[in-house]
Structures are given as C-alpha cells and as structure tokens.
C-alpha cells in the first residue's frame, strides 16, 4: 500500500519552474531519500507534501487523503523535522512538547513525553528553555517534536545536520528502530550520503526540479559504477557519467 502518492507534480514561480512534473510513491515502512544539490527542488517538494505550498499542477495523496482537499486529516498522522525550523526558544522543552501534544491531539501526552525523553535522552534539559540548548540538543528536541504523535509518515530534512558523529549515529539508530517498530514511512532529504545509504531503501535524485534518476542505493552504485553515493551524487549534480549518457539519449 502506498502511504504517499505523488503524481505529475509541478510548481512554477513566475518565470521559474521549481518542480517539473515529478511522480513517486512511498510504500508502508519504506524509507525514501530525496537527494539533489541546492536549488534542485527538494525543499519545494517537501513544502508541497506538507501543505505549506500549493502545487501549480499535479496531485498529492498522503495516507489516502488528497492534500488539496483534506490535508488536515493527513497532517494529524504525519510529522516533519528540520533543524532549520526552530521551536519557540523561550519556553522549555517540556512545554514545547506539551504544546505539540495538544496540537496533534496526543492521548496521554505526558507519558509520550516521558517515552521520548528516555529514547532520545532529553531528561537532562527537559525543563530548560529550548533556546539555551546546543545545536545537537535542539536537533534531538526537534526530532522528539516530530515523533510526538507517533507519525505514520515522517518527513525529515537533514535529520542529523549539526550533530556530532556519536549523536548522529544514535539518531539514525533511533530512526531505524522507530521504523521497525511502527512501520512508519519516511522521506529524508539529506546531503549526508552515508546516512542515505544506511537508512534509505530507495533514492530519488533531483536536478533542476526533475527526478533524474531513482533506485535503491545498491542499484544506483551499480548503474554509475561508483563505490559511494557521494560519487553518484556528484555525477548527477555535474551531469557526468551515466547521468550524461541519460541526458544525451
């Protein structure tokens, strides 16, 4: 069953075509990576999936709900985390999580906050204002916020940006465990290729608003005859190797 279904999606701003007729699906329990250089259309795509941005054309269905007509039913069952969108800095971590517990209608929110604090190791700063935390702590809090409603679909933008390798690894392990336990479907936009190789079953490579290639990390490595996803990324971003052959054909 497809949890996310995107068909012929485009977004045009005045003279710029930011997303150009893309389509993909995310199955139950599947983790899809969205890769591409700056300006490739990843943020625009995620914004449309979240309902923040109206598409120029195309259709998005999440958890069976048409995002153009019934987005709030889907939004209650999904969530998003990005280190680039802050949580209110002057209220405590616990208060922040309570706020989002209310907004997402979480039952037994205090218990859920306790669970997340255990799993993401938030206890030592749970009662400190969110603005006083280190970048890594903020990322963990943002992740806790995104998991407060036990989402069935989770969108992640650079989930481990600004984390030290140890904490980054803990977060990746936690995402793997959450996916295994909950069957959550995830879409991850990341520039960390090792992370993509580790977490993603399927990768969408974007360039200039289009999906220029897609496949499992192993399939992409084979197709581009590379040893790392970083090299695949560079081939696609710079239009060389297999990407150039595809472009010319």
């Amino acid at each position: 069953m497809n949890m996310v279904r995107v068909q012929a999606l485009s977004k045009r701003y005045a003279t710029t075509l930011a997303v150009d007729n893309i389509g993909f699906t995310i199955g139950a329990g599947q983790t899809v990576g969205l890769l591409g250089g700056n300006g490739a259309g990843k943020t625009t795509t995620i914004s449309m999936l979240l309902g923040l941005l109206l598409p120029t054309s195309g259709k998005i269905e999440i958890l069976g709900h048409d995002m153009a007509r019934d987005r709030f039913a889907a939004l209650a069952r999904m969530n998003f985390s990005s280190p680039y969108i802050a949580l209110p800095s002057r209220i405590t971590v616990r208060e922040n999580l309570r706020v989002y517990g209310h907004l997402y209608g979480v039952r037994q929110a205090e218990r859920r906050i306790g669970e997340l604090s255990d799993e993401l190791d938030l206890h030592q700063f749970l009662d400190r204002p969110a603005g006083e935390l280190s970048a890594g702590q903020k990322t963990r809090v943002a992740l806790a916020k995104s998991l407060i409603n036990r989402p069935e679909v989770l969108l992640l933008d650079e989930p481990t940006a600004s984390l030290d390798p140890d904490t980054g690894d803990l977060v990746r392990s936690w995402l793997e465990r959450y996916r295994a336990q909950s069957g959550c479907s995830m879409l991850i936009a990341s520039h960390n290729m090792a992370e993509v190789e580790r977490l993603c079953d399927h990768v969408l490579m974007m360039r200039r608003g289009r999906i220029v290639d897609a496949g499992s990390p192993d399939a992409l490595l084979g197709r581009y005859q590379r040893d790392s996803m970083e090299d695949v990324f560079l081939d696609i971003a710079r239009g060389r190797g297999h990407a150039a052959t595809e472009a010319n054909s």
Partner: protein, 274 residues
C-alpha cells in the same frame, strides 16, 4: 476536550508559558494602559479642578461629566487597542520565534489559529486594562464599573472590533511579511480621531461624520456618553456597533482567508519572517 478545543488550548498554552516566564512582557501588558490613564487622569483632574474654581451654575457639573467621559473613553479605547495588539503581537511572536512553519504543518486549522490568538488577546487585554481601571479608581475616584451591566456590551463590541482590525493586520503580514509589522502598533491609533473616543461625532466636520459612523467603536463611545451624560442606554448605538462589527469581521476574515491561500501559492508560508 474536542479536537478543535484542544488545539486552540495548545496554542494558548504556548503563549501563557511565554508570559509566565517573562516579567518584561507582563509589565509591558499593563504599562501603556496605566501610562495613558495617568496622563488623561491628571488632565481630567485639571478640568474638574477648573470646574470647582469657576463660578457657580451648571458649568461645574458639565465639566466634571466631561472629565468622566474622557476617562471612560481612555479606558474603553484601551480595550479595543489591547485586543487588536493581543492578536497581532501573538501572531508576530510566532513569526519572531520562527515557529510558524511548525504551526502551519500541524493539524491546527486557520480558524483555530485565529481562535487561539483571540483567546490569548482576551487574556492579555484583561491583564493590561484591569490595572488601569484600578488606577482610575484609586487616583481619580473614577469607577468604570459604575456604567453598569452595559459595560459588557461595550467591552464585547470594542474587543470584536480590535480582533477584526488585527485579522486585517495578520493578513497584511502574510502578504508583505515583516515589513507590515509596524501596523500592529500604529493602525488603530490612526483611527482614534475618527472613532469619537474623546468627543461626540457631531464635533467632527460634516464630511468626516459618515466615515466616523462606519467605525464600530464610534457607536460604543456615543453610547457611553449617553449613559454618562443622559443616564440612558442607547440600544440603537449598540445595535449599530454590533452590526458594523459583523461586517468588519466578515471582511477581515475574507481578506485573511484570501491572503492565507495566496501565501500558500507564493510559498510565503515557508519563508515568512526571513
């Protein structure tokens, strides 16, 4: 608690936490209303003093009543201004903390967002204006509650007008971003000369009077003067104020809904505040 009520409470809780933790914000709530009360209170005292110092006759009583209407006008206008600022500033708090992205991707509906902001504004208004009412009573022996139960109608109409204006300001912020923030502080002050706060509509030039009568607050202040000066409640004035408020609120809601959709089309919800 139903889903909507819980989401509205969630937004209110976020702002109440903010105030609980910030004494400068709490002081700011009451600072301007008390300052206004002091300035106009001493002015009214001066006018009243002149009344006792002048020759005998009806002039005494008229000047004292004029001073009373001035104080009532100051306090009631603060209700409207604080209600407008309460909604607009609470929205801007979300903008300043860069939290709007999280809010807009949550299941909080736009009308629930507005309801939450109105709830915060209501609390802020009471917290801001009640101390000024106490100051008026303690320093100038002016009891606003002496106006009687009609005060509830005055408060309701002035608050609704404040919320309608704030909704328009939020719509402008969605359209023009942070550049429209200054309107949150200045827009309603600009209406003061036209809203018959300190003087009757008849004082205005004839060509300005229709504009003044299109403002819901004008009818509240005319009603307030009728109570204080003539001792009767002008129900027609209250009905006019309520009717105009419905029109203002409907117009502001339409503009907000239009700008919200437009912001979603332009991508402004992603970048707002940046």
């Amino acid at each position: 608690m139903t889903g909507s009520l819980r989401r509205i409470w969630g937004l209110m809780y976020r702002h109440l936490c903010l105030y609980r933790r910030s004494w400068p914000r709490l002081v700011e709530l009451a600072y301007w209303p008390i300052l206004q009360m002091c300035i106009w209170g001493f002015t009214a005292s001066f006018i009243s003093g002149r009344a006792f110092g002048t020759a005998a006759g009806g002039g005494h009583h008229a000047l004292i009543l004029a001073a009373s209407t001035l104080l009532a006008g100051v306090l009631l206008w603060e209700i409207c201004i604080r209600s407008q600022m309460g909604v607009a500033i609470s929205f801007m708090e979300e903008l300043w903390s860069r939290n709007l992205g999280h809010i807009f991707i949550s299941p909080l509906r736009p009308w629930e967002l507005i309801a939450g902001l109105v709830g915060v504004a209501f609390t802020r208004t009471l917290a801001g204006v009640l101390p000024a009412i106490l100051v008026a009573w303690a320093l100038y022996a002016f009891n606003l509650f002496a106006l009687g139960p009609v005060l509830v109608l005055f408060f309701a109409n002035l608050m609704i007008m404040g919320w309608a204006v704030a909704l328009g300001i939020v719509a402008l912020i969605l359209r023009y971003g942070a550049g429209a923030e200054a309107l949150a502080w200045s827009l309603l002050f600009g209406l003061t000369p036209l809203a018959a706060v300190y003087y009757p509509v008849s004082t205005l030039p004839a060509w300005l009077q229709p504009i003044s009568r299109a403002i819901p607050a004008t009818h509240v202040f005319e009603g307030m003067r009728a109570v204080l000066l003539e001792g009767h409640l002008a129900l027609g004035a209250m009905a006019a104020s309520f009717g105009l408020n419905i029109v203002w609120l409907a117009a502001a809601s339409l503009i907000f809904a239009w700008q919200f959709q437009s912001a979603r089309r332009r991508g402004a919800l992603v970048a707002i505040g940046e």
